[in-house]
């Protein structure tokens, strides 16, 4: 029994470390993109189009991961793409968490008509296919980073709202809340000082998952050409570009796809790892 638990703990630890390291590297690349990236991500060199990555014949050591059809450096575009992806992940993730958790807390703790209205809104929202909803919103809001972030918040607040509402309801039924009520503390005080701190770990774990989702949404929108301007070095835009030249230059698609895969996997594993770490039963 003890051994079993030890091995589970080790496995959880490894998962947190591996995903955390990848996310850390990506975050550093994003932060120092202009210093690190070897080329200007927008600079075209039509004489150096579709150069293969360094280990293939015909490559140019100046372009480590090769170039796309317009002769733009794939590595530099990946690094600058990380900047866009992580900005969207951070801002959209935090804003979604804020809006969704707030509504969830109110619904779960206040109950009554507030709960009915919010829960009905969640039901209505869940009746939309999210990708269609996102494309619709971008068509309304216009393209651009701000629009993407707004679209993510508008679509995904339900994800936080549902979980936080359930969690707040659970916490409200606990003895420490009842005793706070008996002690005559005001409801607002109980909500912010008793319930919120106990729901916070759930919110943090969800936030990490949401950041991964935000990265994917940005990629999907760039893919259908509704993100920011088409030249901008987004991972989704690189994937869309790479797909059209997949038979001539597979690396233009493969590298951004691999980076996106690892990043989304890491966000998700990090979130799951945090959830288990906070789980008092496993701890």
């Amino acid at each position: 029994m003890l051994d079993g638990r030890g091995s589970i703990k080790r496995r959880l630890g490894a998962r947190l470390w591996l995903s955390g390291t990848w996310l850390g590297i990506m975050a550093l690349l994003a932060l120092f993109a202009p210093l690190i990236s070897p080329h200007d991500p927008l600079a075209q060199d039509l004489f150096a189009g579709r150069l293969p990555p360094f280990w293939l014949s015909g490559s140019d050591p100046a372009y480590l991961l090769g170039t796309d059809s317009l002769g733009r450096d794939v590595l530099s575009r990946l690094i600058h793409g990380a900047q866009i992806a992580f900005s969207v992940a951070l801002v959209a993730g935090l804003a979604t968490a804020l809006v969704g958790s707030l509504l969830g807390l109110l619904a779960g703790y206040m109950r009554g008509w507030i709960d009915i209205v919010i829960s009905r809104l969640v039901d209505i929202w869940m009746a939309f296919p999210p990708v269609l909803f996102a494309i619709l919103l971008i068509a309304v809001l216009g393209t651009g980073l701000t629009s993407i972030i707004i679209a993510i918040v508008v679509i995904d607040w339900t994800r936080f709202c549902r979980v936080v509402r359930a969690e707040a309801m659970n916490q409200s039924a606990m003895d420490y809340v009842s005793s706070a009520v008996v002690a005559g503390r005001p409801r607002r005080d109980i909500l912010w000082r008793e319930i919120l701190p106990n729901v916070l770990p759930t919110i943090v774990a969800l936030l990490t998952l949401e950041m991964g989702i935000a990265v994917i949404v940005e990629a999907i929108l760039s893919f259908v050409n509704l993100s920011i301007s088409t030249d901008a070095p987004t991972w989704g835009g690189m994937i869309a570009e790479g797909r059209t030249s997949i038979h001539q230059a597979w690396w233009v698609l493969a590298f951004p796809l691999a980076v996106l895969f690892l990043t989304v996997l890491s966000f998700s594993q990090f979130g799951e790892g945090l959830k288990d770490r906070f789980d008092p039963v496993l701890r």
């Binding site: 990708v131 619709l136 068509a139 216009g142 996106l260 799951e272």
Partner: protein
Amino acid sequence: MKLLRAILVRLATMSVTLIGAAVVVFFVIRVVPGNPIAMMLPPGASEEDIARLTAHYGLDKTIFQQFGIWLSGVFQGDFGTSISLRQPVMPLVLGRLPATLELAIFALVIAVVIGGALALTGVRHRETRTETAVDVANGVGLSIPDFLWALILIVLFGVLMPIFHISGRISPSLDLPFVTQFYVFESLFRLRFDLWWDLLKHMFMPALALAIPLAAIISQLLKQSLKETMHLDYVTLSRTKGYSENHVILSEALPNAVLPTLTLIGVQFTFLIGGTVIIERLFSYEGLGNMAIDAVINRDLPLIQGIVIVFALLFTIINLVVDMTYALLNPRLRHA
């Protein structure tokens, strides 16, 4: 009696949800900048032409009047006329819906087969490396959304090893005898197995991309419920009776462990259908989702509304069916 009342309450909340969805989409898309009428006329059209066409589509009335007209049409089965395709919306949407349903159902079948097989393998070889491998597969399958799986499948099986079709619904060179849009069912019905096989070969990649995340969810939950069931007394009893481990898992544990997974499949199926929007786009599959993206890009307001309402209706019906099946299957709820 209680069940009947529960169903009536559900139907009432369902209609509130649907009307809410209609209101949201109607008002959201009318904030769209860009005039759909200007997009459909040739350059150099006179002001008069624009005004006439605007009036024809009712776009000169106030937004509330437009909503009233649209809603009363909807209740009569009239969803208006598509601006970009210049045909009534309802036949267009219903013409595409079968393709999407066939894709989604095929994906569901794949997900159940893969997920079930993984769960059973994990339980049969529990506490070994095989179970760890199943856990890792579940973790990866769950973390990566269908959009990325689709791209990975395109690279692997469309380009590096071109085995499967990665574009379209059926080979364009084939003669199609179909009268309905349910090609897969109809080809079986007509015993045209050549067409049936061609359809499946086209559907396999997009369906697999949709299926992987759901397969992982099914596998994870089913394995967990099976493992809990394996500790129960009646399972131990049948084992002491000398039944083989395979028999114990399949005939004794599985029937009792499967209920939570069935409910979950129902809920997750709506997410899968939502995923068809982008997956159909990636694989140029002629379904509802692909049409939806074109409709948004063309600012085709009536068509967008029609498609969104059909999706919302589909989702709510599936949820209702899931709840009712659950109530019928679960004896505790049936007799309550």
